[in-house]
């Protein structure tokens, strides 16, 4: 696969985010994390991110080694279990970090709910507003990867025989996505044909990220783990022009 470019996501989220995502998804008690299960799932995500050519920051690997270390500690039968000595849970530090981080996320949400200037309320200076929208992705990267995983799984059949078409151009895929979205929002899954090749699925995924990065589409989810929807943010023709003007390096 030589068409896949390296993608650096602007909505960067870290290993703690991923762990919280997994904990929530598995409905696990944060204070009693089944290390083996979580480590396995964490590794699967890293694998998937690597497969998608997403840049995996060093922090993710540090956390991976921490998890593996914890997993090994959990396997060792604890001596002194019967004695009066309290043996410290090896997960303690990680749990504390996760709780602290979760707390911060909740505080951030709480701030987000306030009436924000230039979003909910305006003052006289707002006239010459021309603020660049920083993020058009309302969902987390991991939700998106989950959705991607489902599409890949659905198309397993194609692994048996695959005609490799090296000529997929991300730009073309972007144009076809715009075409599909021009009459209104669509579900993420709808953008993938059941019979399409793995290459095409990956190209579509990258095209979606690229469109979001360029503020052409919005990616939203209305409920946790619900369907993901995509919408055009600008007129389809303007969108197509913008895509055509993009540099060829992503093609």
């Amino acid at each position: 696969m030589n068409f896949a470019p390296k993608i650096k996501l602007e909505i960067f989220e870290g290993p703690l985010d991923l762990l919280l995502h997994l904990i929530k998804k598995n409905e696990i008690d944060i204070r009693d994390i089944p290390v083996a299960i979580i480590t396995k799932q964490y590794m699967e995500y890293l694998e998937l991110m690597r497969f998608l050519n997403l840049e995996i920051a060093g922090e993710f690997l540090v956390m991976a080694s921490t998890l593996l270390y914890l997993k090994s500690l959990m396997l060792i039968p604890r001596e002194g279990d019967e004695s009066d000595e309290e043996v410290e849970d090896p997960r303690k530090e990680l749990v504390e970090r996760l709780l602290e981080y979760k707390k911060c996320k909740e505080l951030a949400e709480k701030l987000e709910q306030r009436s924000l200037k230039n979003r909910d309320v305006f003052v006289r200076e707002s006239f010459d507003l021309n603020i660049k929208n920083e993020s058009l992705v309302d969902i987390s990267l991991f939700d998106l990867i989950d959705a991607f995983k489902r599409v890949i799984e659905r198309s397993r059949v194609s692994e048996i025989f695959e005609y490799v078409d090296d000529d997929i151009k991300i730009k073309d895929v972007m144009l076809s996505i715009v075409e599909k979205l021009k009459n209104g929002g669509r579900q993420f899954d709808d953008l993938f044909d059941v019979n399409c090749t793995k290459q095409y699925i990956i190209a579509t995924f990258i095209a979606i990220l690229e469109l979001a990065k360029n503020s052409l589409i919005r990616i939203s989810q209305f409920e946790p783990f619900g369907s993901i929807y995509l919408y055009l943010l600008v007129d389809p023709e303007i969108c197509k022009n913008a895509i055509n003007e993009m540099e060829d390096e992503i093609g």
């Binding site: 602007e10 909505i11 960067f12 989220e13 870290g14 290993p15 703690l16 985010d17 944060i30 920051a57 922090e59 956390m63 970090r97 709780l99 602290e100 981080y101 979760k102 707390k103 911060c104 996320k105 909740e106 505080l107 951030a108 709480k110 701030l111 987000e112 306030r114 009436s115 924000l116 200037k117 230039n118 979003r119 909910d120 309320v121 305006f122 003052v123 006289r124 200076e125 707002s126 006239f127 507003l129 021309n130 603020i131 929208n133 920083e134 993020s135 987390s140």
Partner: protein
């Protein structure tokens, strides 16, 4: 000066200012004592609350500011033809950490978030939502960050002490998970006087 004239003057000043105007400034300009200005303002705040008004007077960043009402945002946005200003999730998170734990260093922020935060800090500095407040007295003398007046304005806070506290938060989430039981004082006293702050 009678009360109605005073209210009219205050209204005119707040209208042209756009920025929050504090009591001292109003006193200097109008020449009345702070007490009467404050009580006139209080009355005005109540009057503007009526549904027939599209503007309200809000105490923000240590002063008073006229703002459009939240429920009218759709119309105002339509008129101004602007994209709503939005902070990305990581930016919001970083801002929350700084707000509640200030003064705080970059490495302390990164320990909490688990990721490199240089880019976000730069962006927040550029938007003037945070500023460098000093250097921490530890080897390397790293920079300490804190929030700004613009931060208070953005979130419609009168003072940093008005930040939502964890107690509110706990009530909202139903307190089903008692995260804050072991919490540090830092979070409860956002004004930088928590005992775990430097």
């Amino acid at each position: 000066m009678d009360r109605d004239t005073l209210k009219a003057i205050i209204e005119a000043i707040l209208f042209v200012s756009g920025k929050p105007v504090n009591l001292d400034r109003l006193k200097d300009v109008i020449g009345e004592d702070k007490e009467s200005i404050k009580s006139a303002l209080q009355q005005m705040i109540d009057e503007y609350r009526k549904d027939t008004r599209g503007i309200e007077i809000v105490e923000v960043a240590g002063g008073y500011q006229m703002r459009t009402k939240t429920n009218l945002s759709e119309y105002v946005k339509n008129y101004l033809q602007v994209k709503p200003s939005k902070l990305s999730r990581p930016a919001m998170e970083t801002l929350a950490i700084i707000a509640y734990k200030q003064p705080i260093t970059k490495s302390e922020i990164e320990y909490i978030r688990g990721v490199d935060s240089s880019g976000i800090l730069r962006a927040l500095l550029e938007r003037k939502l945070i500023r460098i407040v000093g250097k921490k007295d530890v080897p390397g003398r790293p920079l300490l960050y804190g929030t700004t007046k613009e931060f208070l304005e953005l979130f419609g806070l009168s003072d940093i002490r008005d930040l939502p506290t964890l107690k509110d938060l706990n009530e909202i989430s139903g307190g089903q998970e008692n995260f804050f039981e072991q919490g540090e004082d830092v979070f409860i006293e956002p004004d930088g006087r928590g005992k775990n702050n430097l």
